[in-house]
């Protein structure tokens, strides 16, 4: 009975679409031309939304905003794999996910303008509101998955968080519970390399984030997070596995936060410009465009139409968002409990 190996693990990595727009046909997910175009248009819409939000913030028409620039493939690729009845528990940087799920874009602008009403999630969107405390949404996703399993609903729960989120106790407690009860949950980690000014190498000493899943008895895989096909494929398979009763999966999408952490941040204080330039060439939208061009799915004309269509819809959303009346201050008492307390009613009167 000497020293011996009693367990072994391998972390798998999937890349499909490279920067030149060439795809590994053997891995390419089955997507119709229409679906590929839809993906492309969602990527474009998300980026235009993001750009507009940044502009509005600069003009003082929005509050602090967290840009998704560079992470579009991770968000759209994963969200596009969801089925209508699946549920999503996002963090605060998932605008591309909300948009893909059909969340009214004007409500997203409204939310970032500092108006609660933007998070009154429409009943036909199975998403939870933005979660500000990092990582704390993870146990909620796990609980929803437990409830869905109990109710025998044939759905899966997708939970989003960042590299920084993996350091939180709630990440650990949540994923451990998901593993124990083999819950229909898919944990989608956008490793965008930064948690404000903390690089992922200082966030954890583990070389991949995917390997953290092995602590919980389920698989973790890494994908190129700027490769919309790899993200889509990995998520699609994980969701199917979850619904088959195969338990949870952890997907690390390796991507990059191209912008500042939020508009309140100045990333020049802590990260080198070169790093950003390296990632520019890995742009998720550019490579899909090149792929589509080779497939004959992309033309100048198509781009012009897409840009135009997108601009119009975003313009419309901004108008709608800014057309809403100022929220009623008394509403702050309306949603604390189902029925306001005596003291709240008194405070309401003194208002």
């Amino acid at each position: 009975m000497p020293e011996r190996i009693i367990e072994s693990f391998n972390v798998k990595r999937i890349d499909i679409l490279n920067e030149k727009g060439d795809a590994d046909e053997s891995l390419l997910p089955t997507l119709s031309d229409e679906e590929i175009k839809k993906l492309y248009e969602l990527l474009v819409l998300s980026r235009v939304f993001d750009q507009r939000a940044l502009n509005l913030q600069r003009e003082g028409r929005l509050g602090a905003y967290a840009s998704i620039l560079g992470q579009e493939a991770s968000q759209i690729g994963s969200a596009y794999a969801l089925e209508k009845n699946d549920w999503v528990f996002p963090s605060f940087r998932e605008m591309g996910v909300y948009i893909t799920m059909g969340y009214p874009v004007h409500m997203l602008f409204q939310y970032w303008s500092g108006d609660e009403r933007g998070m009154e999630v429409p009943y036909d969107v199975n998403a939870f509101p933005v979660c500000v405390p990092v990582g704390t949404q993870i146990p909620h996703a796990v609980g929803a998955a437990m409830a869905a399993k109990y109710k025998k609903d044939k759905i899966a729960i997708a939970c989003y968080f960042g590299d920084g989120g993996t350091s939180k106790g709630d990440f650990h407690e949540g994923l451990n519970i998901a593993g124990i009860f083999s819950l229909p949950a898919v944990f989608i980690c956008q490793n965008n390399h930064w948690a404000i000014s903390v690089p992922v190498e200082k966030q954890t000493a583990s070389r991949t984030l995917a390997q953290k899943a092995f602590s919980y008895g389920f698989e973790g895989i890494q994908v190129d997070g700027n490769d919309v096909f790899a993200v889509y494929k990995a998520t699609k398979e994980a969701l199917a596995k979850a619904k088959r009763g195969g338990g949870p999966t952890f997907i690390e999408c390796v991507t990059y936060r191209m912008g500042d952490h939020t508009t309140a941040d100045d990333s020049r204080r802590y990260r080198p410009k070169e790093e950003i330039n390296i990632w520019k060439s890995k742009d998720p939208i550019l490579r899909l465009k090149l792929f589509m061009e080779k497939k004959g799915l992309w033309t100048e004309q198509y781009q012009k139409e897409t840009d135009e269509k997108t601009r119009l819809s975003v313009d419309k959303a901004v108008k709608e968002a800014e057309a809403v009346t100022h929220p009623n201050a008394k509403d702050m008492f309306a949603y604390a409990y189902e029925n306001p307390t005596l003291r709240q009613l008194k405070q309401l009167n003194d208002f």
Binding site: V121, Y123, L342
Partner: protein, 320 residues
């Protein structure tokens, strides 16, 4: 009517709510086969199975966070935290989420969740098994806090808590669990949340307490012309009953087990000083646990407010 102690009454309430509503599930540490360290869930695992009586790993934030996810998905989870001293890691989930999900989503999502936990000193338990930190949760808008004082009101209030659409923290006095037996109706019944109970009528002084302190007060003040209010719900508390009685007697003593500074007695005193001050004849005295860490078993009896201290305080205010 059957005679029950608080453990049996709570167990019955859980059982009946689970029979009545498939969405009611219980989760926590050792709630399954073991029936919980105080045997509150005894027999439920055998009756309802592992899908509804869920033994969790040792992770309080995870327990409450998971329960929140279940609640927003449509279940009515009853989470057990093994001792109040172990609820602290779950405060983030309670404060940041359970209390805010309704307002954050403007009512689109609600969090019908009950968190049961044993509280209080006096059973010679180890460190952090004697906490009485109810005040912390009474400062959280969006949370309700209930502290039953008898088998009868424990059953009725727990059923109300489970049916309540908002998150409720349900504090059970470890000292009371098996101390008192009384008649408890077999059938299910509710007791309104937010209503106090006058357990002894009186004209000369108002004494306000909750949980195990109610009994200390009854012992201490037998025969005195003191009105004893059992608060039952701390958040939102029954302002009217408290103010009415304070105006009537003009003398108020507040009793709780938690340390004095920042305890919930402060809120009661402040409310009275704001709404009934012109009626007061004497200082508003608080008889409480000391500003100290609850001592180990050998000293805990010196820490918990004694019948003596309560009586002295009442006699003190009666001098005015």
């Amino acid at each position: 009517m059957p005679i029950m102690n608080m453990v049996q009454a709570i167990n019955l309430a859980l059982k009946q709510e689970m029979q009545r509503d498939d969405n009611v599930v219980i989760l926590g540490e050792d709630v399954g086969k073991d029936g919980g360290v105080f045997r509150i869930t005894e027999g439920l695992y055998e009756q309802f199975g592992h899908e509804r009586i869920i033994d969790t790993p040792l992770a309080e934030s995870g327990i409450v966070g998971t329960a929140i996810g279940m609640a927003v998905y449509g279940l009515k989870p009853v989470a057990e935290i093994q001792f109040m001293g172990f609820i602290y890691p779950a405060i983030d989930q309670i404060y940041s989420h359970a209390a805010r999900i309704r307002s954050r989503s403007r009512g689109r999502f609600t969090c019908p969740l009950v968190i049961r936990t044993p509280y209080g000193a006096g059973i010679k338990a180890p460190e952090l098994h004697s906490e009485s930190s109810e005040a912390i949760f009474c400062h959280m808008t969006g949370i309700k806090v209930i502290v039953p004082s008898s088998p009868y009101n424990a059953k009725g209030l727990l059923i109300s808590a489970i049916r309540d659409p908002d998150p409720v923290i349900f504090l059970e006095s470890t000292r009371l669990y098996r101390l008192i037996k009384e008649e408890v109706p077999e059938n299910e019944y509710t007791i309104p949340i937010g209503k106090a109970n006058i357990v002894q009528d009186g004209e000369k002084v108002t004494v306000i307490a909750w949980g195990s302190m109610v009994y200390k007060c009854l012992q201490a003040l037998e025969g005195l012309d003191a009105e004893i209010i059992d608060l039952l719900t701390l958040n939102p508390f029954d302002i009217e009953t408290v103010i009415q009685s304070a105006k009537k007697t003009g003398r108020v003593v507040i009793v709780h087990e938690a340390p004095k500074t920042g305890g919930f007695g402060a809120e009661l005193a402040a409310t009275i000083a704001e709404d009934a001050i012109l009626y007061l004849k004497a200082p508003l005295i608080r008889v409480t646990g000391y500003d100290a860490v609850v001592p180990f078993p050998k000293l805990e009896d010196y820490y918990i407010p004694s019948a003596n201290r309560i009586r002295n305080a009442v006699e003190e205010v009666l001098k005015y």
